[in-house]
């Protein structure tokens, strides 16, 4: 047996390029569907685990997928906005506790997520460096943001304008980085967290400027009447919140109409969840969804696509196997003289079969080993690959 293996090994080495091509073809055809399955399993796990740990989500009527993807993974597609009235309404039901999310703006390509500190408790996010945001204008960044932008506590980050041509828009806010989150291998690693009020500062709804009741420059005041001072657009608003100017920051209008993209709703128990869902069933303005159901729906679509891919891979695999069989058949035909010589030297047909079987076996074994190595690497990196390429 050892002699057969030795001769087969020498044969494969002699025809190393042909052997390598065969091995690569077999490895690839085995790796492709298995790696795809691994990545899909991981993406399903990541998508579902984040969705399943979020009991309910409330947002404006419209695309539930946009709502969930924006609020769970901070997707660029911003859903229709709701207001703080929705938050108050949920509290008033006494059935659940809401966590507001305002994921609309960006800072150097990363989403700014306006929320409350409860979000960190809810997602079990730990501050690895620095501290949680405390004052208006402070931010806590995800580990990937810190790594990619080279930021650490004490640095600053500017919010980006919503559009390049927003000349009359609000000034970018210089946000102080006060903390960096420990990696959570989720969308939170890629986000810039600020207090919900700071998100309104980014939008310009909450702002600070010099006291208009004290200013003397007539070009800054359009008019004074009935205890109200009307300021002109020349009045410069602060673009950085410091201890010296924080007291000048104020809201205009009714705070209950201030915008949010969604509410993470934490019902007190299953009954409260059911009651709450019932209450919003006929709502003309709001929808309340179970993110797990929405993500399930999304995954069903992904799996439908996967089934098509599986079909394609099956056809390609069949073609490849046929080609490999053809290669072996042609190879045997080309080696007919060589086989006859071996036979004439006194080898039995069984020995010849063993020689050829050893060659094929070696090709398959090496391909399997290669396949195992590739799949192990994919499996180890699947969380990162999915986070970077899919979510």
């Amino acid at each position: 047996m050892m002699e057969s293996l030795y001769i087969a090994w020498k044969y494969l080495l002699f025809y190393r390029w042909r052997s390598a091509t065969l091995m690569a073809a077999i490895t690839l055809i085995a790796v492709l569907p298995l790696a795809l399955q691994l990545l899909l399993n991981e993406s399903e796990r990541q998508l579902l685990s984040r969705a399943a740990s979020t009991p309910l989500m409330l947002g404006a009527k419209g695309s539930s997928l946009d709502l969930v993807l924006n609020s769970l993974y901070f997707d660029d597609e911003v859903p229709e906005l709701i207001s703080m009235q929705a938050d108050e309404a949920v509290i008033d039901t006494g059935l659940a506790a809401p966590i507001p999310i305002y994921a609309r703006f960006q800072a150097r390509g990363f989403p700014i997520v306006g929320t409350t500190l409860d979000y960190f408790d809810f997602r079990k996010l730990q501050v690895a460096q620095g501290r949680p945001m405390a004052m208006l204008g402070e931010s806590v960044i995800g580990s990937a943001v810190a790594q990619q932008l080279g930021l650490a506590p004490g640095d600053s980050l500017l919010s980006s304008p919503e559009t390049l041509f927003d000349l009359a828009g609000v000034y970018p806010l210089k946000m102080k980085v006060v903390g960096v989150l420990a990696p959570s291998h989720s969308a939170d690693d890629q986000a810039v967290f600020v207090d919900i009020k700071s998100a309104w500062v980014v939008q310009g709804l909450l702002h600070g400027h010099q006291d208009v009741t004290q200013i003397q420059d007539p070009s800054l005041v359009m008019g004074r009447s009935d205890g109200n001072v009307v300021a002109t657009a020349k009045l410069v608003q602060f673009t950085e919140i410091t201890a010296a100017n924080v007291d000048t920051f104020h809201l205009h209008g009714d705070p209950s109409i201030y915008p949010l993209t969604a509410l993470i709703v934490l019902p007190h128990d299953a009954k409260s969840a059911a009651l709450l869902r019932g209450r919003y069933l006929e709502s003309p303005s709001y929808q309340i969804v179970r993110p797990e159901e929405v993500v399930d729906g999304l995954l069903q679509n992904i799996f439908r696509i996967k089934r098509v891919l599986d079909g394609v891979i099956l056809i390609v695999a069949s073609a490849t196997v046929l080609v490999i069989l053809l290669v072996f058949a042609l190879s045997l035909r080309l080696r007919q003289r060589e086989i006859n010589t071996i036979f004439k030297l006194g080898c039995s047909r069984l020995t010849i079969s063993r020689l050829i079987g050893a060659e094929i076996g070696m090709i398959v074994i090496v391909s399997s080993l290669l396949c195992t190595v590739v799949l192990t690497v994919v499996d180890a990196q699947s969380a990162e690959i999915v986070r970077r390429m899919i979510l």
Binding site: P55, D118, A134, A231, G253
Partner: protein, 302 residues
Amino acid sequence: MNYRLHTAVLLVVLCLGSFSLVAGEKLQVFSVNYPLHYFAQRIGGAHIEAHFPAPAAVDPAFWTPDIKTVGDYQRADLILLNGANYSKWVAKVSLPRLRTVDTSRGFRDQLMKGAATPTHSHGSTGEHAHQRAAFTTWLDPRLAAQQAKAIHEALSRRRPDLRQTFLDNYTKLQAELLELDKAIEQIIAKRPHQPFLASHPVYQYFIRRYNLNLQSVLWEPDADPSEADWRALQKLTSEHPARWMIWEATPKQDTVQQLRLLAVNSVVFNPCANRPEQGDYMTVMADNLLNLETAFPAFGIN
């Protein structure tokens, strides 16, 4: 599917740390003013550690904590807010909302507007900045009892095993507050429509509860009123012939003397927003009651 929801809810509850407190572990309760701190102490008793970090000499409504103190608030199991825009700093910091209780939320439709302040808008169509609400809600003892109820409910949610203890303590406190309310009502009922002055516009809820005929000025007990202040007072008393001025704290003797020359007596009704030098909230209110009793018969004679 249903068990998944259960699991999710359980996870959420665990995340929020609701059940992380094992029996015997004291709840860390932070308040923004002394009345809430006192109510929490009374209701929570030995089962909580109540904290009120504002220094003694400041008005907690206008105090701003440093970053370290904000961090202490953030780590608390329960943060008791007065609501009604009390403590301006709350709007400028990040607090965990699910561990924060707005004790006046239950009667937010009854909140009153504070003194008129100049507003502003940006451009001709911009909205005005908001007027501050009146915030000394606890000066209406019935509202104070509602705030105490909110504290009792919040503590009970955190420690359901101690619900009955908290309820008993709250019931006792509520009875005392309602007794205080009745006592004030009886005193004021002697001369309900007589004009009064207040040194500061902080008695809005007190005025509304007892239907007092009271006008406020803006005088500080530890500062001498200016000439303009005296002139304004004379003008005010000509239209509003008050014979008593209610002060938040004991005024300067010179001011008292000068007021007497205008036939205006001084009486202290301490809102007790900060920790008293001696006694506690109820003893301060008992002193306030005595002061009112002194004022009303004397006023009746006048």
